[in-house]
Symmetry: C2
Subunit: 459 residues, 2 copies
């Protein structure tokens, strides 16, 4: 007897999730799968195999986003199967657009196994369950459905982050992003080709978007809530800070003759950390994550430190006030050390509201499942924030133990993950039946583009 | 008519020096020839070709030091030409030991073209001139003569610095140094083999040592002196400082929940810079030259900063007081940030006196040339400091414009370089005639070994 296990069951989900966590696994239960590494390729290959063996058609676009597509709407019902101008090489003969659901499979260096991967695997299972439900009920959906693994959400190897979804959403230029290089000088284009994910497929056209992710904060855990639904994203911006001193000998050069870039840079790092003190507790978060010293030799006084500072707040005015304060302090540090410090604003991401109709949709789905839900904001950037520029998007969270993320001890329970899959399945079912698509032209979710937001900051 | 230019003339020296400065030349008149790079190989190949075409025999030892040897003492005069146990493959059939003169051809990243290279090229020309003078006068010297290019004086790629001469002098273990790796994980042994300088020759046995180098300071220029002679080296030590925080998300993690390694590290950098304020002006120099952040991603709060601090003073007590103060301050920083900071002493180099007989020898040579000389100390480490542990050594300086070094704008005039070659030739002539060899067992220059010095510091 050939026993066939249910491919969309809870146990199949947990098996899949915990299997993927072994790819690029680190010593302390984390993963290291930076974008376009061999570990990222292995995870992508796993998704392709799983999707194809479950009846999905896999497409890879030019920036390396992967789409596992389910054509739920018969071609005939949406128009002719031979529409002139249909994308070459696309199997999509239907004009019905797609509900996209997903997240990202790449990780930070020594990152957690939940961040992103949970959302993609949850989406694969939610899509399979929706397909099964439609087959059982005989219902005809309004839209097709695809699960997406967005390229380079993390931005650890290639900056800026949220790259693949931002290109898809039209916020970033494709060619510009393909030319971005990592610290070793390898471009995105080269790295995509190196792991055979330099795709040529036309991506499915999105009508709505949904994503589920770990919270990466403590609110749901503290309030014992099952699910969070995101009302808006924080305003964020980065500062590119280039400290230009003069290289000299650590032994032979008198202290008075030095222009030590690292000493000045240390003062900048402290200014960035301490600027939060000018505002209410936790109203602003700030940090320097990237910080490279040149020439980085034990007996050479550093000539240059290049760093990236990150400022985030729910209130755009707070970020701008902090940024102005930092620019003044940095100018003062440069003067005191008689060196040059160049500061540039970049990667400005405006505060954005998700459509209230999507928030309500998630709340209804959660209520139907007998679970609890809370509205909140996201401090972190997500692919959903980029997608919300293009189509109405729903963003949901499951609880994070201790609120930690981007580290190996990131954790979410199996039970919470399974609750999230149920809720995402329910929301996805509503979306393929046409929900949320009609708020497409609403003003609530159509905000300024990144470029507009960038120009609105006084440099 | 076959016109043959004088191979040891001033113009030949300048031609050679300025040719070598083109190897690994940088945009702003510096050089980038870190140890065992292709540029280092090119410079080594130049030295081999020059030496062999001028009658030197070139040997390369196991740590990659290059010796261009002149056998000035006939084998017969120093014993049998068939001494049992003579090194295989060595042309040295004479038991007469060698006067060694030289410096190093490797550079710092974006370093100057004078540091080290001047000393090796000056030594090649001084040796050739001594050989010619001996041939003309018919004098029979006491010792043979070899010019040395020491491996990895700079230590920018492989730490510790002054590696080749320290192995030769017995201060560092050969096997331990061959196993040292650069930041990319390449070992010294692998890098030597990669450029075909993994030698097997027995190096010449030294009896005395002389070196000329740029001052890398302002004293000679300020006092309009032609030559400096070094009486002693500064006491130096390094601190290996490992700041261990916790990786987290720059956006999603509350400021209160962070253990940011870079913020704590910035305070350590400032403590190292400011500790000089506890002493008289310029009595201590201190710096952090190497400083590596992990994971170094723009949106991750750093988990680790590994840095190397460098402390130097003429007075060992000042270095130890500064070090004790820093350890106290660093412990306080670790407590305040609730993170771990490990601090270890390493690369301790004791204050060492050069033999006064050598200082006087240099002074006489300078007087004979009608030049001016001044005694001084060296704050920088040099191969001569290592060699002075093994044999009596003479260390001389030529002026540095503006006192700058380890950077592209390092500069010394042609005139000053030529004066230095004349003085080195004169000193070398005295050494091959037997001067200084008899102070070999004196106590003045026999100090504690590095290992002994290391153990004498209370950790």
């Amino acid at each position: 007897m050939n026993h066939q296990a249910d491919p969309s069951s809870d146990s199949a989900f947990l098996t899949a999730f915990h299997h993927v966590a072994t790819i690029g696994a680190t010593d302390n239960n984390g993963v290291d799968r930076q974008a376009l590494t061999l570990e990222d390729k292995q995870t992508r290959d796993w998704m392709r195999t799983w999707a194809e063996s479950n009846g999905f058609e896999v497409r890879v676009d030019a920036i390396g986003n992967m789409f596992a597509c389910l054509q739920l709407v018969p071609a005939a019902s949406a128009g002719s199967a031979d529409v002139p101008g249909s994308p070459v090489g696309s199997a999509d003969t239907s004009a019905a657009p797609y509900v996209l659901i997903g997240s990202h499979l790449d990780s930070q260096p020594l990152g957690g196994r939940f961040d992103g991967a949970y959302g993609v695997i949850a989406a694969l299972f939610a899509a399979l369950r929706v397909k099964e439900e439609l087959a059982e009920s005989g219902q005809r959906p309004t839209f097709n459905l695809a699960v997406v693994n967005w390229f380079n959400e993390e931005g650890g190897r290639f900056a800026p982050s949220i790259m693949g979804s931002s290109v898809y959403a039209g916020l970033f230029d494709l060619e510009e992003m393909l030319a971005v290089t990592d610290l070793a000088g390898t471009s995105v284009a080269e790295a995509l080709a190196a792991i055979d994910y330099d795709g040529t497929d036309t991506p499915p056209e999105a009508i709505t978007y949904a994503e589920i992710h770990i919270e990466q904060g403590r609110i749901l855990e503290r309030e014992a809530m099952d699910i969070g639904v995101v009302e808006s994203s924080w305003y964020t911006q980065k500062l590119d800070i280039d400290v230009l001193g003069e290289q000299s000998h650590t032994g032979a050069t008198a202290m008075a003759d030095r222009h030590d870039a690292l000493v000045a840079a240390a003062k900048v790092v402290l200014a960035v950390a301490e600027v939060v003190g000018e505002f209410d507790d936790e109203a602003l978060v700030s940090s320097v994550g990237q910080h490279v010293v040149e020439p980085n030799s034990p007996i050479v006084v550093p000539r240059r430190v290049h760093m990236v500072a990150d400022l985030r707040s729910s209130d755009p005015a707070i970020v701008q006030t902090a940024r102005d304060s930092l620019r003044r302090q940095i100018a003062e540090i440069a003067r005191a050390h008689d060196i040059t410090i160049n500061v540039e604003d970049f990667d400005i991401r405006d505060k954005r509201h998700f459509p209230p109709e999507g928030v309500e949709l998630a709340e209804k789905a959660v209520a139907n499942e007998g679970l609890s839900i809370r509205r909140l904001e996201t401090m972190a950037g997500h692919d959903s924030v980029a997608m919300n520029h293009r189509v109405p998007a729903v963003m949901m969270f499951v609880p994070s133990v201790d609120g930690v993320s981007h580290c190996e001890r990131e954790f979410t329970t199996d039970e919470d993950m399974l609750r999230g899959v149920r809720v995402l399945t329910s929301v996805t079912g509503e979306l393929v039946r046409g929900q949320l698509a009609d708020v497409r032209d609403g003003e609530v979710w159509v905000g300024r583009s990144v470029a507009e937001a960038r120009s609105s900051v006084t440099v």
